[in-house]
């Protein structure tokens, strides 16, 4: 019964993957057609010694880590707030969930132009109104700007999952703790946080899967720059294979990214698999 899905996924993985591995050993550039001779590990050598490679690794790590930090912390705070009694909770929830439905391309373009543009963007106008120098987001704090945009998109997701988890918390347990004189801080640390652990791991798992291959937001805002300051691994492979059209090196980069993704997946599953079994 599992088999159709497994067979399809295996095919989906194996056919392109074996082609990718095959290409990674060829000198294969789209813009210089001709024979594609076998060149051994040469492409791997070029990709790994690419001066941008180290930066791309660091940026990928910062991007995933930064967004996770903001969305998990912000999500917990937001969920705690929404869990409080208030009027119009439904409306607040409708407003807060909106970013999750917005296409990555659109949110990249909108933030870049209507908000972060130092001359015509809203932040620029505000700075101008206050009489201070506007921040030039994509040249002064490029990576942070991308992190902020991506966090905006994923914060609703984290909030909703955490809120659902919070609402399933046994109120009587909380009240009992309160009666025993536990402060709100210790109630949070000893009762709520352990209860949320499972939801937090799910948020981390799902988001990591999507954040490792962030692409559209970078493409429409900074094109990986200035320099390589917003180039992540996905973008670097894009540069090699689709801007320099070097399919050989791009494929080598793809294979390396797949290996790295599997290492991350392995640790993530170890860490989270346990939590999910509980």
């Amino acid at each position: 019964m599992i088999s159709p899905a497994v067979v399809l996924l295996l095919g989906w993985m194996l056919v392109p993957l074996s082609l990718t591995i095959y290409f990674s050993f060829l000198r294969y550039n789209l813009i210089t057609p001709g024979a594609n001779p076998f060149v051994g590990w040469e492409n791997y050598y070029w990709f790994l010694t690419d001066p941008s490679f180290k930066a791309a690794m660091a940026n990928t790590f910062m991007l995933v880590g930064g967004v996770l930090l903001i969305t998990v912390a912000g999500g917990i705070l937001f969920a705690l707030l929404l869990d409080q009694p208030m009027w119009g909770q439904g409306i607040v929830r409708i407003m807060a969930i909106a970013p999750f439905f917005v296409m990555p391309t659109v949110s990249g373009l909108v933030w870049k132009n209507m908000f972060m543009n130092p001359v015509n963007g809203i932040f620029g106008h505000i700075a101008y109104g206050l009489g201070v120098q506007p921040i030039d987001f994509f040249s002064q704090i490029p990576l942070l700007s991308i992190i902020l945009i991506v966090s905006w998109q994923w914060l609703p997701f984290a909030t909703l999952i955490l809120l659902t988890a919070l609402q399933s918390l046994d109120q009587e347990q909380l009240e009992a703790a309160e009666m025993d004189g536990a402060g709100s801080m210790s109630r949070f640390i000893y009762i709520m946080l352990p209860h949320l652990a499972r939801a937090i791991t799910v948020v981390i798992l799902i988001q990591t899967i999507f954040l490792l291959s962030i692409f559209a937001e970078i493409l429409v805002t900074t094109n990986g720059g200035p320099g390589v300051s917003t180039t992540n691994l996905t973008y670097l492979i894009y540069v090699s294979s689709l801007l320099q059209f070097d399919v050989g090196i791009g494929s080598a980069g793809g294979v390396i990214a797949i290996i790295l993704a599997n290492i991350v997946a392995f640790f993530l599953m170890r860490m989270i698999g346990k939590n999910l079994d509980a």
Binding site: V119, D136, S139
Partner: protein
């Protein structure tokens, strides 16, 4: 009669009537797919193409993409023989390279009314490989300096009659820089990309006496000439440029200039039609122009570029595509645009007949200067020192776009203040050496 035969009958009738209607409308009604960039000339072409559709019975599907994405999509599709596009918009960089690789259909067999001789010779040469024309020009451009006549007058700056130096240019930018009143001394491209910031930086390096490669294809980006040029660029932009310059490409700067935010701007001559168009620009009556500046040499100081349309070999509808090209780059089309959209919007730089037309000369005060700049740009002799390549703001080899993009990114990092000019040039040189070694130029 059973169900099956009923279905068969139905199919037969539908098929026959379908066939009849096809014959009735046009002998070879076809749908061609055109991949193009989102600039105002192409938008006009989209609008006017309905006339061609009516005349021929064919139809056109447009795929409009941003320049970089277009280049990537077109290259992927053509190189893999995908056949998704019947016409692609390409530039003076791709046309000779792709033509030589046998990716494009030769376009030298249009009938006499097309009048190939009417197309300027440098434009034809720029789009040919081994003497065969592989792309037909939609518009051609060089670069020159736009300036605000009112600001020059107000500050008492005299308009130069000779080509000025970049040092003089910087002095003018300094004098007119007035950010408190929303006017920046100069706007230049800062967005990374070989077709963006490097289109300005390339001719700047030429003016400072630099070159990309020596006669043995060794990169010379770490030279003193490059260092002087890039330092000049970074200082100029940081001192007298608008904020956020690293995000500004041609379109962004054009919007800034049209909005009255720039005192000077060195960029494509083709933007003149937009800047002088009262519907689009608030400075249409107070803009002038002069040559792009020189420095130690005046060679290669104005670039050469053409946007052109070409047919991939993988297209299944070559005849219909050719028919469209013969229409959309003809003399008649130029007139059609002139009559229906105003002569100032007519596609510039491609045909002598456009410049012989009194209506165009009247509507476009910049026409003569543009023409002179285009005819003066010489891709075969654009550097002070001898080089093994052709091209003013690019190097006509397939490897250039990778190198140009990387150097463009590095230069934008220097502009953003993230690294020094020395680091920028050292990184760029190392990358260029790597690429040229990989490609087998350097043994």
């Amino acid at each position: 009669m059973n169900v099956k035969s009923l279905v068969k009958l139905g199919k037969g009738i539908a098929g026959a009537s379908g066939l009849v209607s096809v014959i009735a409308t046009a002998a070879f009604a076809e749908e061609i797919t055109i991949a193009t960039v989102n600039n105002s000339d192409m938008i006009i072409m989209q609008e006017l193409s309905s006339q061609w559709e009516e005349q021929t019975g064919n139809s056109v599907e447009w795929v409009v993409l941003e320049e970089n994405v277009l280049r990537q999509r077109a290259t992927t599709d053509i190189a893999t023989d995908g056949g998704s596009f019947d016409i692609v918009t390409i530039g003076a960089y791709e046309a000779p390279i792709w033509g030589a690789q046998d990716w494009l259909v030769a376009l030298d067999d249009f009938d006499d009314s097309y009048d190939y001789e009417d197309i300027f010779e440098p434009v034809r040469n720029g789009l040919s490989a081994n003497g065969t024309l592989y792309a037909v020009p939609f518009y051609a451009e060089s670069s020159f300096t736009f300036y605000r006549t009112d600001l020059f007058e107000g500050a008492g700056i005299e308009v130069p009659s000779e080509q000025m130096t970049y040092d003089d240019f910087a002095a003018i930018a300094a004098q007119l820089h007035d950010p408190d009143n929303g006017v920046y001394g100069t706007c230049q491209r800062g967005k990374a990309g070989w077709g963006e910031n490097m289109a300005f930086v390339g001719p700047l390096v030429n003016a400072f006496g630099g070159r990309w490669f020596d006669m043995d294809w060794n990169p010379t980006i770490d030279s003193a000439e490059w260092s002087a040029a890039i330092s000049y660029y970074v200082d100029l932009m940081n001192n007298y440029g608008p904020p956020g310059a690293t995000a500004n490409g041609h379109n962004e700067n054009r919007a800034l200039f049209a909005d009255g935010k720039c005192a000077t701007w060195v960029d494509a001559t083709s933007a003149a039609g937009y800047i002088f168009n009262p519907d689009e620009s608030s400075v249409h009556d107070k803009t002038g122009f002069f040559q792009a500046p020189k420095q130690v040499t005046d060679k290669g100081t104005g670039w050469f570029w053409a946007w052109a349309l070409a047919i991939p070999k993988s297209s299944q509808k070559v005849d219909a595509a050719k028919e469209f090209l013969a229409w959309s780059t003809s003399k008649g089309y130029v007139e059609l645009v002139g009559e229906s959209k105003g002569w100032v919007a007519a596609p510039p730089g491609t045909r002598q007949s456009t410049y012989d037309n009194a209506s165009y000369i009247d509507a476009a005060p910049f026409a003569a200067t543009v023409l002179n700049s285009i005819l003066a740009a010489n891709p075969a002799d654009a550097t002070r020192d001898p080089v093994p390549y052709t091209g003013v703001q690019f190097v006509a080899i397939p490897e250039f776009q990778g190198i140009g993009n990387y150097v463009g990114q590095q230069v934008s990092a220097a502009l953003a203040g993230q690294q020094t000019v020395e680091q920028t040039l050292a990184n760029s040189q190392r990358f260029a050496v790597r690429e040229m070694t990989k490609a087998g130029y350097i043994k």
